[in-house]
Amino acid sequence: MDGRLLADVLVGGVAAGAVYALMALGLVLIYKTTEIVNFGHGDMATVCTFVAYAVAVQMGAPLAVAVVLSLVCAALLGALVEWGIFRVARTRHATVLSLVVATLGVALVLNGAVGVVWGHDVKTFPFLWTGPPVRVGAALLPVDQVLNLAVGVLLAAALYGFFRYTVPGIAMRATISNQAAAHLVGIPVDRMFALSWAIGSALGALAGILAAPVLYLEPNRMVDLLLKGFAAAVLGGMDSLPGAPVGGVVLGVLENLAGAYGSLELKASLAFLLIVIALALRPQGLMGTYRHRRV
């Protein structure tokens, strides 16, 4: 294989990984603050992508408006799920496992609702940005992948800034590291939970919108993206925010390599093979910290 193709494959993998990373970031953020593994993440993203579809395609509004509205919807939905369901369940001493099962319930409800409102036929979603392929280093990239890459990098930087320099960001980190202490110094822990659900859900919606032009839109289309997001999150370390983009990019690149030099069938199951191998070697993920069991 020549170097040009290899460069295409590598950069393309990074761009694909950027979308996985967005999905993974949302999952990790929610897991870190609330200990809930959100299996509803894919369907929440689907609902919000459909909202963008409704605004942009069905109502003919500009795409930028649709994206903003969709992200606002996502944040509201995330906060609503936390306030309406998990806060109540926690006060009744629900176990973490049953909370996770509740996220499966949320996923089912949203999936059914999307089916009722928008039906099951496959819809096309417009590309956010169209144009000729762009040269990135030695590689030639389709312009939508350049956008994925740019959004991924910008958001990673924005999240870093949020957690490093803003008051809510620091409060959220305090909540993550010690809930009781955070509560004692006056941080509204409940609201931090809702905030992390809102941000996580919006990140998922953004991943959905970026992936939708390629995947097309249909109620069950995001399952694959959700699984890839999980793979990336676990690979990077479920409790590590910087781990999520690392896991996403590693997954995207390896997947693309497998697709180019192996077979496309391999590409599909590679994600999980990779997880099992990675977890066997490093049970806490690439960048996660080993947590001693709380007693």
């Binding site: 369940a89 049953s98 499966l104 319930g105 996923a107 399952v223 999980f272 099992v276 069991r293 007693v295």
Partner: protein, 319 residues
Amino acid sequence: MRNPWAWSLALGAVLLPAVVPGYGLYVLTLGLIFAAAAIGLNLLTGQAGQVSMGHAGFMGIGAYTSALLSLRFAFPLALSIPLAAVGAAVVGLALGVPALRLSGPYLAVATLGFGTFVSQFLLKWESLTGGYMGLKPHRLLWTSAIPEDWQLYYFTVAILAGLSWLALRVERSRLGRAMVAVRDAEWVAQASGIDPVRTKLAAFALSAGYAGLAGALQAHVVGFISPSDFSLQASIFLLSAVVIGGLASVPGAVVGAVALTVGFQALSGVRDLRSILYGGAMVLVVMFFPGGLWRLRLNGLFTRKPVAVVWRRSRATGP
């Protein structure tokens, strides 16, 4: 079985064919088969605290093992079904080894990967498994005629009764108590002489064996299997059955599995609505009855004793 509800359930199960029509019995039979797998998953997840999101994979292994043994090698079903359970248990043991190091979300994702791998594998190895087209295993036959729905029903009830009895015995055995100890405080268990490795491996093997047996039964009762019967959806279905029924409770697993299966079939005409009702029910049960349906206060009708809620986070703190 001190619990009067358990007795009423058993009695109801025996008398049911008198009032339920043929197709209803068939659906109940399917529910009872799922219940067998749910009891197994409950031993692993409820009792030993190890989440599995790929348990339908074991059902698939059991179903295809028994189907292929009987179709290709003309094994009698009385031999191929138990062998399917053993095969699944061996795979469960093998999966248990890497799973020993994992917990929480990592274990969930790893087992989910296992389940996805099994259904992909069944799909891709067409020469053996028939791929999408699936297999048509022999129906359960003990006479020359195709068995009636009520015969299959009683057959499944009998097997499930045996499996429940075994699970209840295990629950109260040294192994069962060791599982609870490992679930609640692994290092405390270790300090008091319990081997967590052996306990977890035993839980994995036993639980996979139950699921394998259920899969084999499903293959020979339905008479058709395909990889999509054992997909991620089926695994999630099993896990929700266990949680909705009530974790760490054998009758809870049965109630959850039967209720979910009957509801699932009854609403199969209105898929989207079914998803909404199902998901809504799951959320509401977790919100308002965290102990599951089986631990509803209905028990108070017979006894005044408060109902213990297992599987709360251990309150014990400090070494």
